[in-house]
Amino acid sequence: MKVYISKVKKNRILPWISLIILWFVLSLVVDNDVIVPGIGLTFKNLFRIIGSKDFVITILWTFGRTIVVFLVSTLLAVFLAGFSSVSKLFYSHIKPIMSLLASVPILALILLALIWLHVEMVSIFVGVIYILPLQFENILNGIQTVDKKLLEMSRAYGVGKLAKIQDIYIPTIIISLSSIANSTLGSALKMVIAGEVLSQVRYSVGGNLVLEKTYLNTGGVFAWIIVILLMSNALSLLIHWWKKKSFLLDWM
């Protein structure tokens, strides 16, 4: 068992080491910090960024936008999928809208959002538009795959509608949502940052990426990418913590 675990760990760390070696070699070969900044320079930038007085607030704002995107799109998706599952007419209206949203290039949406919305709303709007169709599809799928035998059992025992929703439908939806929560939150973060890059809103990771690029400080861009990776990992940990706290891990 121990051997197996250490093997898994090794397999997780090894690719990162290879990647760092590749980066190191590449920076030596290219020998131009604007194109491929060296590891030392990148980490110097990273420490500068982390040490700056606005760092924490910047991170918190981007995290906040990501969480808002996740919650808003999930809530919207729950309502839309809920109505879709009871009304075919509603579903026939919603379905084309969802596939439209899923197929429009995200950059086009950002441009539209820049015209329509306050700059602060752009990244949230973009994130919601991107996540919503994924969550909608997933929740609808969850509702449709509810165990029919459990529903029949509830009916035989005269269990009320509310209890069925609360104790069978909602847990089924939460289970199907949690299975992709990691990738959904990750996508939300990416979309929010993309929106921030173009809207250049104050206190944002995306805005800072643009700033570093404007000064041709590629080391700074690399450093922010490392920050984003860490943020993405923090979100994974958050999901894991939530799964552990909620009923999800108890019965699986």
Binding site: K149, L150, E152, M153, S154, R155, A156, Y157, G158, V159, G160, A163, D167, I168, P171, I175, F247, D250, W251, M252
Partner: protein, 230 residues
């Protein structure tokens, strides 16, 4: 007063499943219903429980308080044993009493230490015990069972039969048990009703002498009687 099923008919498209089916069910004790597979035994239970609707005929003396044990345990996987039982009691039993009643039954059958277990932590036999217990805790005067022991191996089946008959003895309920298992019918049924193949009618009604006097002789007699008919 008996529960009466009168001239029950049910078709599925062209298939005449139940034809003028007439059965009397005693208000206490176990009525076993046997018949060839696919003859509409489950359909009959579904009509009695209200899960399905009859085409014509009448059910007299039945009320809405019915509990149902299915072939599978049908426990909610994300609820533990205790919560699974609460689930069917909500709104039927006063809130303050739910916990006490559940606990009382769990203690009675020696399942109290499993009350916080999730279904996946229990064996197949244990799960079916919980599902049977759920049916007994539910405030119903009529209990329907659809092949409740059929997915169990012999040892588990024997344990479950014992578990079930102990509960029936303690609780005064009317039970309809559908089975294709001769052994189950003889060991549990006070009355055994044999059905024909589709379109299904009653072929024979037997009073089970083995349940009056549990002697091997009687068991063999009943077995022969049933085997003659099926």
């Amino acid at each position: 007063m008996t529960l009466q099923i009168r001239n029950l008919n049910k078709r599925f498209n062209d298939l005449h499943v139940l034809k003028d089916l007439t059965i009397d069910i005693e208000k206490t004790g176990i009525t076993c219903i046997m018949g060839p597979s696919g003859c509409g035994k489950s359909t009959l239970l579904n009509i009695i429980s209200g899960l399905d609707k009859e085409d014509s005929g009448s059910l007299i003396g039945f009320d809405n308080s019915i509990s149902y044990v299915f072939q599978e345990d049908r426990l909610i996987p994300w609820k533990n044993v205790q919560e699974n039982i609460y689930f069917v009691l909500k709104g039927k039993v006063e809130k303050e009493k739910i916990k006490g009643t559940t606990q009382k039954y769990l203690n009675m059958v020696g399942l109290q230490e499993y009350s916080k277990y999730y279904p996946h932590q229990l064996s197949g036999g244990m799960k079916q015990r919980v599902s049977i217990l759920r049916a007994f805790v539910y405030p119903a005067s009529l209990l329907l069972l659809d092949e409740p022991f059929s997915s169990q191996d012999i040892k588990r089946k024997n344990n479950l039969i014992q578990f079930f008959s102990d509960l029936v003895e303690r609780e005064n309920k009317s039970v309809i048990l559908v089975t294709h298992d001769l052994d189950v019918a003889i060991r549990l049924g006070n009355k055994i009703i044999l059905l024909t193949d589709k379109p299904t009618r009653v072929k024979k009604v037997l009073n089970n002498i083995y349940r009056i006097e549990e002697m091997e002789e009687n068991y063999i007699k009943m077995k022969k009687l049933i085997e003659l008919e099926i």
